[in-house]
Structure formats: structure tokens, C-alpha cells
Amino acid sequence: MTTTADTRTTPYLDLFARRGERSGEAESVRTRRREAIERFEAAGFPGRGNEEWRQTNIAPLLRAAVTEASSRAIEGQQAKRFLYPGCDRLVFVNGRFAPECSSAPEEVNAASLADLPAAGRVADVVAEHLGATVDGRASCSADAGVHPFAALNTALFDDGAVVEIPDGAVVERPIQVLWLSSPVEESGSVDRVEFSFPRLLVVAGENSQASIIETFASTGTGTAGYFVCPAGEFICRPGAVLHHTRLQADGKDAFHLGFQHAHLERSALFDSSSLAFGGGLVRNDAVALLDGEGSHCTLDGLYVVAGSQFVDNHMRVEHRQPHTTSHQLYKGVLDDRARSVFNGRIYVHKAAQKTDAKQTNRNLLLSKAALANSNPQLEIFADDVRCTHGSTIGRLDEDALFYLRARGLPRNEAYGMLVYAFARELVEKASFEPLRLRASLNGGPGGGGSR
């Protein structure tokens, strides 16, 4: 099974060797980094024979000449257009903290992973949790093998954010974590792809409440490609309520292979919305472990793709304890030759009686060449549960289009209104900046709207 002498892994293995051990890093984290690179080296990149990666063609990434993204300073203005008003913010450029663009939230303990205090709460949290579960090793699910890109991130992340929300804290202001990629845009360097490994750890304390907004975007204007490989861990302690929005608006030629992992303890709630618009080759793996009685997770998502974009959402929700509930609603809008994969696995352990799990995936195809794949997978080992799933793939309703036109709406306006209507519930859920999202959905003026 082991791939022998896979030269495509060389740049990553070399970087790990070159870096050596980092002074000041907790021994537990060093160990996890070592184990991660070993697992990555042993497994290599997934091929088409790997069931979990069967529909995700990563060959274009593996063909590219990759190199680590360099540190780059940016103008404040370049970050500003991606920042939401009324939020505290942590800004990273090419995976490295940009303190000059950031405003540290006061009610929480937040730090840059590259610049951790030697001791104290944040240092303890990192030593305990960072990389402890993120690549799925802790999972009981039969298929939970190595996630190669999560392992790569653990081994190679250079910087990132840790946010610890103290027990009982109710944080009113959302915390925005902006991950900016700033690719080199020189002519003649089109084959060079810079990679970065953004890393996020959020620990929501007992009975705390907070909102985290992650934004992935590029300062680039041209077609420079880059490879962003983020990993996020969300630990929800008993009774914690954590809202999470993940807006992915990378450049059109970017590779985005991300992983997020939520661990929920008793009566915790994790509500995550993913909005994916950018990138050329995009995959997001989201795992939620409902590991405490009465915990609930919502994993919602919207993907809007066109051209030759590919977006893959791979979900795994594990119900491990009784009375746990999960909701997933993913919707896709695909135009041109865009393709999508939705792979939704719900795994109900034997102990997880009274599980209530619901999964829905709906796709709207706007062109004949667009293609959506939808794969619901239920594995249920408890006998007193309610699990439902449904998926649809359809086209725009011609009757509705004619109805709107017969009332005087020009074709493009009617079209925009119907597309927006399809996506609306998910867009409005991410209500912090609906106008910008609306513009990207409708492709400009004359489109529909929310009211």
C-alpha cells in the first residue's frame, strides 16, 4: 500500500526536515507534528483508488511546482475590503499573523501560534488540544484513515490562531479570522504554486458563547495560483454555544484543500455555515463528533461555482452519545462546466440512542455541462434513532421563469431572482454581510435581492 519514493511529497518532507524543531513549542505539539509527517509520508497523496478521494482529482495540484509561501507585508487597504464591521479580527497573510491589521478581542484569550506566551491559559490549551484529534485518529468510524492534508497542516503549519473563550463568557462581537493569500504575480512564474497552512484552534469553555467568522481570500487580482491548506479545530466544552461561518472566496485558480473538526461535549452546540465561491480546485472536509449527551451540530453550506471550478464538500457527523442531534443543509448552484461533490456521512454509534440526524443536499444546475454528485451515506448501529437524508439535482424552473417574465421582469432579472431564492436561506443565515454575497450570487447589477 505504501507509495514508494513519491517525489510529489518531497517538497513537503524537505520543508519539515529543514525547519527542525521549534524552540518554545510544547513537547506534545512537537510529538503530534512528528507523528503527522510520518503518517503523511507513509500514506502519500491519495490516488483514485482511495474511496474517500475517488471523485476528487488532485492531479493538477500534484503536477504543480510547489514552494512555501513567503512572508509578505500587505497594505491595510488590501485586508480592509474583506473585513466585516463590528468584529474583532485576526488577520493572517500567507498563513502568518499580521498584527498591524488585527484588533485583538478583549473578552477572550487569543494569540498567534507562532508567538505564544511561554505559560498561561493559552499555552495550556494549545499543548492539550492542538492537533490532538484533527486528522481523525480519534474517530471510531471504520474509514477514518489518515487525512493527508490535515496531517500536512499539523506537520507544517507555521502560524495560526488560537482562541480560547473562557468558561461562562458571552462574547458579543464576532471574531473574524481573515486568511489572506498573497500570491506572487510575476509573469513567467505561472507554474510556481506557493502553499500555506493556516491553522485555527478554538476552545469554547463551559457555557460560553461566541461567533467565529473565517474568511479565505486573495489579495491577487490576476490568475496567480496558490495552494491554501487550512485546518481548524473547534472544541466545544459542556454547554458551549459556538457559531461559525466559513466564507471561502479564494482566487479562481487557487487550490483550497481544507479540514475542519468539531468536538462537542455534553449539551454543546456547534453551528457552522460554509459559503464557497472561489478557488479552482476546492475541497472542504468537515467532521463533527457529537461526543456528549444532548449535543447538537448544524453544518450548513452553500457553494456557487462556474467556469471550470470544482468544489467538494466531504462531511462526517458522528453521533457517539444518546440524544444527540445534527442538521446538515447543503445547497449548490453550478454554472458552465463546474462540478461539485457532496459526500455526507452520518455515523450513529451503538450507544447513541435517540439520535436525530437530518441531511439535505440540493443542487441547481444552470447549464447542461455542469455536474453535481451527491452521496449520502448513513451508517447506523443504534436501533432507536431518526435519520433522514435527501438529495436533489435540478434545473431552473422554466415555469417560474416565464411567470416572472410575464409580470414584466426582464429575463436576467427573473433568472437572478430565482437563483437567489434558491440560495437565500443560507445566504441570510450568514447575515453579517448579505449585500456582498448577493452581488457575487447575481453576478452584478440588475440581479434579484432579498426584499
Partner: protein
């Protein structure tokens, strides 16, 4: 206002209209009656510009303008309104938002100033009252989960707000109980005036007790086989369509 001459139309290779002639003047109400499959709904859809229907011969003019040259939205801007036999449910689009977009698209196309939210709301409330529509319907998504009666009332409300020159009502009476039928008819009657014309398409004479037409036409096998005054509807009710087989069309 409306002039339909020797109209032939087909859908998927099947010829449905086979030479329809119809002339409607401002202020008039015309009823087009016919059994299932006679071409009633095809006539309505062709007038509104549904692309699935192909006009193979003849002409359609609204105020001297060739309707065939116009997209469905352009026909609406010119003052044509079709009340659908089966109004379409549009989840995710609010009813009043939709109506505002429709009104302003039309105003924009005519070079008029668009209505702001306040002015529109005032217009909407006034018209909802005129045609006896509950304001709760305005806050729901377009037709989604509406009862049959609510959908038809919503069509009448749209007509009241859009103020067409020519309104074509395609079996607006189908599926309505008598109370809903009376409400819909009262709404139409409230909108009758000397500048506006109606073409009321129906299977049954019942609606015409409440919307009294100036002219009645019998459509059979894609042709108008007889035209007359409102008494013709009663004759039809008594004799059925069987008595009209292939008779010559009166002018």
C-alpha cells in the same frame, strides 16, 4: 386594442390553434368558452409569449404593435397581463418584493420613475383592499403553500397592482368555491373601466354570472365557431358544446 387574425399555433408538432380571429376594443369584456382541449389555454399562453408554443401563421397585435416581436416581459410592459390558470409557486421570493420588482421593471421600461418602498407599500395596501386580499398573503413567498383560492386572488391582486391595458384571465374560476369565485369576480369588476379590456377564458358559464361579458366566443378545435352576446353563454350552459360542432364562425 387586441387584434388576433387567423392565428395558427402548435406545441410539439401538434397544431392546436387553427385560425383564430378575435378583436377586442378598449372597455370591452370578452369571454372565450370551450371544452377541454379546444385551445383555450394555448390562446392565453400564446398571447403572453410562452416560448413552447410556436405561431405558424397569422398575427397578434396589441394597440397596433406586433406581439410576436416582443418578449414576454415586453408584452407585460406594453400592458398585457395573463392571470395564470396554474399560478407558479416561487419559494424564497416574497410576494410583495416580487410585486415591487414587477411594478418597477415595468415603470423602468416605460421610462417612468421607479416607486420607492414607501410609495409602493401604499399602492399595494390600497389595491389589496380593493380586491379584498388579506395583507398576510403579501408577506409570504409567492404562491407557496397558498390554497387554490388564495392563488387566484393573488393573480387578481397582481393585476390590480400592475394595471394592465389588457387582462387575459385563464380559467381563473377553476377550482374555486362560490365565495372565492365571487371575491375574484368582484375584484375584476372593480378594475373594469373604459380604457381596459378583459379576455375571460372559461370552461363554465358560472363565472359569467358575476363577470358579465359584452361578447362571448365559443372555441372548438382551435377555431372560434360562434360569437354572440352574453346570452350565448346561457345557451351553451343549456345545450352543451356538442351543439356547436364545426358551425361557421359568426363575425
Amino acid at each position: 386594442m387586441l387584434r388576433v387574425s387567423d392565428l395558427h399555433a402548435r406545441v410539439e408538432e401538434q397544431e392546436i390553434l387553427r385560425g383564430v380571429n378575435l378583436e377586442v376594443k378598449a372597455g370591452e369584456v370578452h369571454a372565450v368558452m370551450g371544452p377541454n382541449g379546444s385551445g383555450k389555454s394555448t390562446l392565453a399562453q400564446v398571447l403572453a409569449g410562452r416560448e413552447d408554443y410556436e405561431v405558424t401563421a397569422g398575427s397578434l397585435e396589441l394597440d397596433g404593435e406586433d406581439l410576436q416581436e416582443m418578449a414576454p416581459e415586453e408584452r407585460a410592459h406594453a400592458g398585457l397581463f395573463l392571470a395564470f390558470q396554474y399560478p407558479v409557486e416561487i419559494p424564497g421570493v416574497g410576494n410583495s418584493y416580487f410585486l415591487k420588482a414587477a411594478v418597477n421593471a415595468t415603470r423602468k421600461a416605460r421610462g417612468e420613475q421607479e416607486l420607492d418602498a414607501m410609495d409602493f407599500l401604499q399602492l399595494l395596501r390600497e389595491r389589496a383592499k380593493l380586491v379584498d386580499v388579506d395583507e398576510a398573503l403579501l408577506r409570504r413567498p409567492v404562491n407557496e403553500g397558498f390554497s387554490g383560492g388564495e392563488k387566484k386572488r393573488n393573480e387578481i391582486l397582481q393585476m390590480a397592482v400592475l394595471e394592465p391595458r389588457l387582462a387575459v384571465l385563464d380559467e381563473t374560476d377553476s377550482g374555486l368555491d362560490i365565495d372565492a369565485l365571487k371575491t375574484v369576480a368582484a375584484g375584476v369588476n372593480a378594475l373594469r373601466n373604459e380604457d381596459r379590456a378583459f379576455v375571460v377564458i372559461t370552461h363554465y358559464q358560472r363565472l359569467l354570472n358575476y363577470i358579465v361579458p359584452d361578447h362571448v366566443h365559443v372555441l372548438l378545435d382551435g377555431r372560434i365557431v360562434r360569437s354572440g352576446g352574453s346570452g350565448l353563454a346561457h345557451e351553451l350552459e343549456a345545450k352543451g358544446y356538442a351543439g356547436f360542432n364545426g358551425g361557421p364562425a359568426a363575425a
